[in-house]
Symmetry: C2
Subunit: 120 residues, 2 copies
C-alpha cells in the first residue's frame, strides 16, 4: 500500500487542490495527502468543508457502487470534491478550491484510480 | 410558471449543453429544454445517459436537501450532470457533454436558480 505518492501527484498536478484521500465505502479515510503550496490560513476553511463533506459521502458512494456512474462531485460554496471509484471497497476523493481546475482534476483522477487500485 | 426561457438561456450560454430540466425531489421532471445546436445522432446517446441519470438522482437530491451542499454532480463517461437546489421541493439539473464548459455551467446555474425559484 504505497499509494501516497499517487495522491501527492494528483495534488501537485491539479491547480487549486486542497487534499486527496483514499477512502473505504465504510467512510473511513485510509490515506490523505494535503497540498503544501498554500498558506494554512487559506486552506483551513476549505479543509473544514472537506472534512464535513467526507461525512456526507455515503449517498454519493452508493451512486458510484451502481456501476453506471463513474464520478460523483459534491460542491459547497467553499470547496468542490470529485470522487471516483477505485475498487468495490475503496474510492479516491479530491478536494479543490472553487477556482480549481475541475477539468484537469477529472482527467488526473481517471488515470490515477487504476494506479491506486494496483497498490491496494 | 414561465421558466422555460430560463432553461433555454442556460443551454444557450453553456458550451456543450445537452438539456436542462426543472425536477421535483419526487424525481418527476417538470420542464425540460433540449439543445438545438447539435445533431440528433450526436445527442442521442448522451440523451439516453441523461435520462438514466435522472432515475438515479434520489440519493443526490438527499445530499442537496441537507442544506450545506450547494451542488451535486453525477458523471458517466458520456455525460456530466450538474444539479442545484431551487426550492425545498425542486432542483435544476443541466446535462453536459464531457468536453462541455463545467466552470461556466456552475456559474450559470448559480445565477439562474433564483430566477427559476421566482417563477415557481
Amino acid at each position: 500500500m504505497s499509494f501516497l505518492s499517487h495522491l501527492e501527484s494528483v495534488v501537485r498536478d491539479v491547480d487549486g487542490s486542497i487534499a486527496c484521500s483514499v477512502m473505504g465505502f465504510d467512510g473511513i479515510a485510509v490515506e490523505t495527502y494535503q497540498a503544501q503550496d498554500a498558506g494554512e490560513l487559506e486552506l483551513s476553511s476549505a479543509w473544514v468543508e472537506y472534512a464535513n463533506l467526507l461525512t456526507q459521502l455515503k449517498n454519493a458512494a452508493d451512486l458510484l457502487k451502481t456501476g453506471s456512474v463513474s464520478e460523483v462531485s459534491i460542491n459547497t460554496e467553499k470547496v468542490m470534491t470529485l470522487i471516483r471509484m477505485v475498487s468495490p471497497d475503496y474510492f479516491v476523493v479530491l478536494a479543490l478550491r472553487p477556482e480549481g481546475n475541475y477539468g484537469k482534476a477529472r482527467y488526473v483522477l481517471r488515470v490515477t484510480a487504476p494506479k491506486i487500485r494496483a497498490e491496494l
